[in-house]
């Protein structure tokens, strides 16, 4: 119960910030309030109509960084998105994310775990520079193990060379 209140007061917007045990309860406080919008927000909290993390019109709903073959640098086109998440983390100290690195299927599985890590870590480093704390970010890698696209050519491989930003509880 304590945990539920804590999460609610923190933001009230962080969908699924509380654990599954909370989610499973009917009318879990956090989720309901988020869904219902400003009316249900505790007094004094900034009025928002939708969860910025899932609102399609908000840049925070964008979560994926794509990479060139064998590369791990964050391309310029993804910088505004990474910056937005970094800002969100800086302004929401209770928020935590995992940056999940992924690779295409070519080459060694273990080397791809390491390469996926480097990709995700490049996102973390950029967020660090922008002020987000390491304690809010865990960099992990799925290597080539969890491809989003299943075919065996570049059209799928480019989808799979990717880092995903996932908020705790999502």
């Amino acid at each position: 119960m304590k945990k539920i209140l804590f999460s609610t007061l923190l933001v009230g917007l962080l969908a699924g910030c509380a654990g599954q045990d909370v989610k499973d309860q009917p009318k879990a406080a956090v989720e309901d309030r988020t869904a219902q919008g400003a009316d249900a927000k505790p007094a004094g909290q900034k009025s928002v109509t939708a969860n910025p993390l899932t609102d399609p019109s908000n840049i925070l709903s964008k979560r994926s960084v794509y990479y060139d073959f064998d590369k791990s640098d964050v391309k310029a086109e993804y910088k505004p998105m990474v910056e937005a998440h970094s800002k969100y983390l800086t302004g929401t100290k209770g928020a935590k994310i995992a940056v999940q690195g992924n690779c295409d299927e070519r080459g060694s599985r273990e080397y791809n775990v390491a390469l996926g890590n480097r990709r995700a870590d490049s996102v973390r480093k950029m967020m660090n520079v922008l002020g987000a704390s390491d304690s809010q970010i865990e960099v992990v890698s799925f290597g080539e193990e969890k491809p989003r696209a299943a075919c065996h050519d570049e059209s799928c491989w480019k989808e799979n060379r990717r880092s995903d930003i996932v908020y705790q509880g999502e």
Binding site: Y111, V113, N117, S141
Partner: protein
């Protein structure tokens, strides 16, 4: 705490159910000099569902080093030394002959007698007798095949060993262990999340592996005897690429807790983690030398992934591979004189390669296209690896001279991440 609970809920797990799935082996190619041998059906073996001599002959044939001479037609079929008429076998071209018998004892056990004969010199090379439980018929057949192999080739036989690998069927991942001939597959772990990098403990009783069941790579060690497992490493970030030290007391592992993927040493009970490698790049896929004094590994510190060697304390790293821009997944040979690895050839093909440590000489052994994770049989004569055929993951084996090739496939699913287990203690 909450975070962890959430993640655990997402995966389902089964520990050590005894599921069966057969691997089928197909042999392609053969050795340069095949020893012609005839394995005469043992007296009384027809009461055994799978027989004995069929298993022995299949083992020998699979090695690529033997030519099985059909014994049919020789009358009477010899089972005892006195019944052997050597000229019968010489005219058929057999240089060696295996004969024997199976007796059912009053106590329910079986007595298996076996003799190996040199048909050219007309002498007995070996003779053994085993009293066994009925469940050990196949194991005894493998043991006899090992004896024949050793006697006639001078090398240790590996027919009694086991292999570990991962099968992916749909969204189900299974870590399985099977006999070296693919028979008797048993599921050690089943999960809805990926499992990679199984690694045999040197005594063959435990497997270390990496599971993604908690939404990130975590290393576990599981007993094949009890089925129980323990978490070996779950530090912040990734925990992967476990490799046992030859004494079984420690493992080299790869962690990202301090930033990039680096090699660490950890005790087999999960205590005493210590960093070994210090590079600004990726260091991964460690493999201990058989004497435990050095570790080979993949590193891209020089700009592209290459194989390096350092001392087991982490000092004096030196680059070993210079040909090609992508060399990964090294594994030491059992004699410590060479190592196998995967080389990207012509930009798009990934092949099993072998390099001699002293001379630096390198040889590509395979002509398949998507090879991964090669490991040696404990006698160093064959290498087991994963590849692809018809869009499916299969296991394959190649002799260390590249001549003998085998394919192992299941009826369904992708098979991958094989590692050949150690010799059983005799």
């Amino acid at each position: 705490m909450i975070f962890r609970k959430l993640l655990v809920g997402a995966a389902w797990l089964l520990l050590a159910p005894w599921a069966h799935a057969a691997l089928t082996i197909e042999i392609v190619g053969s050795g340069a000099n095949q020893i012609p041998i005839s394995v005469v059906p043992f007296a009384g073996e027809n009461v055994l569902p799978q027989g004995i001599t069929a298993v022995i002959a299949a083992d020998l044939q699979r090695s690529g080093l033997f030519k099985i001479v059909d014994p049919a037609g020789v009358k009477p079929e010899p089972h005892e030394l006195a019944e052997v008429n050597y000229p019968d076998w010489r005219t058929r071209g057999a240089d060696a002959l295996a004969i024997g018998s199976v007796l059912q004892r009053p106590d329910g056990k079986l007595e298996v007698r076996f003799r190996l004969l040199d048909a050219v010199k007309q002498v007995q090379l070996d003779a053994y007798s085993y009293v066994i439980d009925r469940t050990l018929v196949r194991a005894t057949a493998h043991k006899i095949a090992d004896l024949i192999y050793e006697k006639l080739t001078g090398d240790v036989g590996v027919f009694s060993t086991r292999i570990a690998y991962i099968v992916k069927s749909g969204t189900r991942y299974e870590l399985q262990v099977a006999d070296a001939d693919g028979y008797g597959a048993q599921t050690v772990l089943a999960s809805s999340e990926p499992i990679i990098s199984p690694s045999w403990s040197p005594d063959g009783t435990r497997l270390a592996y990496v599971s993604f069941e908690r939404k990130k790579p975590i290393i576990y060690v599981q007993s094949l005897v009890s089925g129980q497992r323990q978490t070996l490493a779950q530090f912040k970030g990734n925990n992967s690429a476990p490799a046992w030290s030859p004494d079984g007391k420690q493992l080299a592992i790869v962690l990202t807790k301090d930033g990039s993927s680096q090699i660490y040493l950890i005790n087999a009970d999960g205590s005493g983690v210590k960093r070994l490698s210090y590079s600004s790049g990726i260091d991964t896929e460690p493999s201990f030398s058989p004497d435990g004094t050095s570790i080979i590994f993949t590193s891209d510190r020089g700009g592209s992934p290459q194989i390096y060697r350092m001392s087991a304390s982490g000092s004096g790293a030196q680059r070993l591979t210079f040909e090609g821009s992508y060399n990964v997944s090294p594994h030491f040979s059992p004699d410590g004189k060479s190592f196998t690895f995967i080389q990207r050839v012509n930009g798009s093909s990934f092949n099993v390669a072998l390099q001699d440590l002293a001379s630096g000489q390198m040889q590509v052994l395979t002509d398949t296209r998507m090879d991964e994770s090669p490991s040696f049989a404990p006698n160093g004569k064959m290498l087991l690896y994963a590849t692809e055929m018809g869009g499916r993951g299969i296991l394959a084996a190649v002799s260390s001279d590249g001549r003998v090739k085998q394919r192992l496939s299941t009826q369904a699913g992708d098979v991958r991440e094989p590692e050949w287990g150690p010799l059983l203690l005799k």
